[in-house]
């Protein structure tokens, strides 16, 4: 069965100098910035060959500035190049960050399910710290914003 297989990599971008309480501050993460950073890093670590190999199906699919979660899509073979370079990313848009890989899925639906679970767990954590119900509600809405997916 001939079929184009993709891999969707779910990453979490954490600014380095961030306080524990400041979790609600939206981190300015845009799709183009993520796109450029990852491509630049693969170019540095894997050279012309790596940069060209991932170029075909590569795109930054979804980015949520509040939860700092991003989804990158790439073809099935070269995805190993990307997963091996993501830990080396130190800055996005002149901001020092550290990046974690949360999940690698073959379909965007699975990634969506994972992200939903992840955000639910996170929102429960944060809601413990907040007191008013309104604040909790607005936080939940902000976190569960999947409009761009």
């Amino acid at each position: 069965m001939v079929r184009l297989k993709n891999r969707y990599i779910v990453i979490e971008v954490n600014p380095r100098d961030q306080n524990e309480t400041d979790t609600l501050h939206p981190f300015k993460l845009s799709q183009t910035a993520l796109n450029q950073t990852v491509q630049g890093k693969v170019d540095q670590l894997h050279g012309d060959f790596g940069a060209a190999a991932i170029l075909a199906g590569f795109s930054a699919k979804y980015v949520n500035p509040y939860t700092r979660i991003g989804i990158i899509r790439c073809r099935s073979g070269p995805h190993k190049l990307i997963t091996s370079t993501i830990p080396f990313i130190t800055q996005v848009d002149s901001c020092q960050v550290s990046v974690n890989i949360l999940y690698v899925g073959a379909t965007i639906k699975k990634c969506f399910n994972f992200v939903k679970l992840h955000q639910q767990r996170k929102s429960d954590e944060y809601c413990i710290k907040l007191e008013s119900d309104e604040a909790k509600k607005s936080l939940k809405e902000a976190l569960m914003n999947f409009g761009s997916m």
Binding site: L45, H46, G47, D48, F49
Partner: protein, 107 residues
């Protein structure tokens, strides 16, 4: 078989220049780095013999990275700004095989 591949290469320059083994290795590493990035530059390449008159050398590369090194030598175009060709004369996993040469031998 051994873990290494041995390459007998010759550097042909557009304009003749003085080449030291250090610069030779630097150029090879630069070529590999351009094509394969830092993971390529970390491949241990050794120059076993170097002839500074004919600019021939014998390289030793790990077997698993042989194709990367060979293709980056093919695609390298410049030596310190001068046009160059890396002509790969022989490549073998057995060092002794570099001595006998059925292709270039004139009967």
């Amino acid at each position: 078989m051994s873990n290494y591949y041995y390459l007998d290469i010759k550097l042909i320059l557009a304009n003749p220049e003085e080449v030291t083994p250090a610069f030779y290795k630097k150029n090879i590493l630069e070529a590999v780095k351009q094509l394969f990035g830092e993971t390529g530059a970390s491949i241990p390449i050794d120059i076993l013999k170097f002839n500074s008159e004919t600019l021939e050398a014998i390289l030793r590369v790990p077997k698993s990275h042989y194709i990367k090194i060979r293709s980056s030598l093919v695609l390298s175009g410049k030596y310190e700004g001068i046009r160059c060709i890396y002509s790969i004369q022989k490549s073998t996993p057995l060092l002794l095989a570099l001595q006998g040469d059925s292709r270039n031998y004139n009967h």
